[in-house]
């Protein structure tokens, strides 16, 4: 793990195989490709759809480069620009027992497919029992000077929608393990990838079948003085902040949610009750974001244990600005987390 101060992200035995395995490091994006490739080899019902994913091109971020050559055009389908239609078509395929993995070119464009996701795919099993085992891969997140339409973190819309599952891996291992779990899950799962981690983050990724169960958070750093609850790219900012806090004698616990729907209520309440001070951080705008649910949950069910108000940090309530000084002002980072956590510790 390249991030300063990261402790082992799991004590899962799968992660502690032979010494060569432990040495095997992949980038976050390579871990995604590996999960897709392995699942496609394993299960002939898994197929890919999306804009520009086929051929040697292999998608805007090259996640599926070479896939068409290995799996054929039948299983790697380039779509026209029609997110609503092709996500809905994936729902139809899924109802017939296939397991489509649909790539949004950017998570920002998931709003174009929103209607079919929240109304059709999310409600079908409850209404009449049809299972919709698709995955939407959504390259999300900012910090890359990509402007308001290539930087979004739209997870809150989907966490609020009954019938969906939502995950947001923060490490290469989780990127692989959660994607495999998502593909095998019988429900529609939205899988938010963090673009800033794609090639900047390397870490150990277990070879072969490696599953991180949906709905389980990961205690990324054990600490006693306060808890930072976060997910996605902000995990690494939180860990860096924790490292700096440690130098000042403040021992922060860091919980990586990994799954946003279902939330790991138990892990959230456990860390809140343990430290009594919580800072919830995400890159998405704070207002009515996922952090509001986490904070409200803690306020509701860990009230007696709290030694300070639950704090939240997120993006501002503005579209995501393009220009570097504006985007930096918009977006949480290690520095801001450090400052907020320090104040919280001193509360």
């Amino acid at each position: 793990m390249k991030t300063a101060g990261a402790l082992p992200f799991t004590d899962d035995p799968n992660m502690l195989q032979s010494p060569t395995d432990v040495a095997r490091e992949l980038t976050y994006i390579a871990a995604i490709s590996e999960a897709l490739r392995e699942e496609m080899r394993r299960d002939p019902n898994v197929l890919l759809m999306g804009e520009d994913i086929a051929g040697e091109f292999g998608g805007a971020f090259k996640v599926t480069k070479g896939f068409e050559a290995e799996f054929g055009a039948r299983r790697v389908i380039n779509t026209p620009i029609a997110e609503l239609g092709f996500v809905a078509a994936a729902t139809g395929m899924a109802l017939m027992g296939l397991r489509p993995v649909v790539e949004m070119q950017f998570a920002d464009f998931i709003s174009s497919a929103f209607d079919s996701i929240v109304q059709f795919a999310a409600t079908t099993h409850y209404r009449w029992g049809g299972a919709v085992p698709w995955v939407i891969r959504a390259p999300a997140d900012g910090g890359l000077r990509a402007g308001p339409f290539h930087s979004q973190n739209p997870e809150a819309w989907f966490v609020h929608t009954p019938g969906l599952k939502v995950v947001a891996p923060a490490t290469p291992a989780d990127a692989k393990g959660l994607l495999i779990a998502a593909i095998r899950d019988d429900n529609p799962v939205i899988y938010f990838e963090s673009k800033p981690l794609y090639r900047s983050l390397k870490g150990h990724v277990p070879p072969g079948e490696y599953i991180v169960p949906l709905g389980k958070a990961n205690l990324a750093r054990v600490g006693a003085d306060l808890s930072i609850i976060t997910y996605g790219a902000m995990l690494h900012q939180a860990l860096a902040a924790a490292e700096r806090l440690a130098q000042e004698g403040v021992d922060a616990e860091v919980l990586d949610l990994r799954s946003l729907k279902p939330l790991d209520k138990e892990a959230i309440l456990a860390t809140a009750r343990k430290t009594g001070k919580v800072l919830v951080v995400h890159a998405a705008n704070k207002l009515a974001g996922v952090g509001a649910e986490v904070a409200a949950l803690i306020a509701e069910e860990a009230f007696e244990w709290l030694d300070a108000p639950v704090q939240r940090m997120g993006g501002l309530d503005t579209p995501i600005p393009f220009s570097p000084p504006l985007e930096d002002a918009y977006r949480p980072n290690a520095e801001k987390i450090y400052a907020a956590a320090r104040a919280l510790a001193a509360y």
Partner: protein, 326 residues
């Protein structure tokens, strides 16, 4: 009216049976609501019998069908019993959606290869396309058929679906039930060119217009389209011209529809017309047709009684079934 060489007399009587079953179900349902015994609102399909029945009859049980809110006939023909459908309308535990979804929504059942409907129009189209794509994927000689309205044809998904269906040569049949109105809005307030089948051209796919009040014409068009689709020749857009004979939904008096228009179409009533045709062509005599009608009346009355006697869902189950496999 076409005279079919595709159909045996036995089959033609079956078509009549299904249309009549649909009609009587519908009339019974409308009465139920007028008597205040309904739950929520519901839609009549009066006038649409030939389309839903003719189309569904042209498919095999292995084919997938994604009907809309006027396709009662298709649901029944494909295996949802009248009791389960009444149960759905009345929110019963053994209704098709177990009390989850309203009226003719949510009546999916994959054992019968039926994909349930959602309100949002025309969302069944691309989902049916996906089903059709799964047949290509698995190299199965099946087709998917879906229905939509003239109104829904203005929505973007109509275009997205037809474009991809043609591009991918999907074994998909899309039937537009052009019934002159979308709720209160007449065709000329929806589109400039009311011949919806013509749109097929620009996608490079087959497009056909049929008399939506002629069950054998609908059957023949769907049969041909299905044969083509199974042969690998791709999708077909079928426009079935008809008329919505009652209001948009039961609460709607439809004062906005000119009387003469209804009178014209009443003269083309698909059920009466087919009955007369069967008599004229000697397929059956009055006695036989009356017997079918009696059978249908009993079936519907029994189904309604069964549904009304069946329990409402247990509120303790309300959170069950949101997720598959849990």
């Amino acid at each position: 009216m076409t005279t079919s060489r595709l159909l045996t007399n036995q089959q033609r009587l079956e078509l009549f049976y299904w249309m009549l079953l649909t009609r009587i179900f519908d009339e019974t349902m409308v009465n139920l609501w007028k008597q205040g015994r309904g739950v929520g609102g519901t839609f009549s399909q009066r006038g649409h019998e030939a389309i839903s029945v003719g189309a569904a009859y042209a498919l095999g049980p292995e084919d997938v069908i994604a009907p809309m809110h006027r396709d009662l006939g298709a649901y029944l023909l494909r295996g949802l019993t009248p009791a389960r459908v009444f149960g759905n309308l009345l929110g019963r535990a053994d209704g098709v959606s177990r009390g989850r979804d309203a009226n003719l929504h949510g009546m999916g059942d994959l054992r019968h290869n039926i994909i349930g409907f959602i309100s949002h129009l025309p969302h069944s189209l691309p989902v049916a396309l996906g089903a059709a794509m799964s047949f290509i994927y698995r190299n199965e000689p099946r087709v998917a058929l879906t229905f939509t309205g003239d109104g829904a044809s203005s929505a973007g998904l109509f275009h997205e679906t037809l474009n991809m269906a043609s591009l991918w040569n999907a074994p998909l049949i899309v039937i537009v039930e052009n019934n002159q109105y979308a709720y209160s809005t007449p065709l000329h307030q929806q589109m400039k060119v009311p011949d919806i089948a013509r749109r097929a051209e620009i996608y490079g796919m087959a497009g056909v217009t049929v008399d939506g009040n002629d069950v054998e014409a609908v059957y023949a068009a769907v049969h041909a389209a299905a044969t083509r689709a199974r042969g690998g020749s791709g999708p077909t857009l079928i426009e079935a011209k008809t008329m919505r004979m009652l209001g948009h939904a039961i609460h709607d008096g439809a004062e906005y529809v000119p009387k003469e228009l209804l009178e014209y179409w009443e003269g083309r009533d698909p059920v009466k017309r087919y009955r007369q045709k069967l008599l004229d062509e000697g397929v059956a005599d009055e006695t036989e047709l009356t017997e079918i009608a009696q059978r249908v009346e009993v079936e519907i009355a029994d189904a309604l009684a069964q549904a009304e006697a069946s329990p409402l869902p247990d509120p303790a189950t309300v959170e069950q079934g949101v997720y598959a496999g849990e």
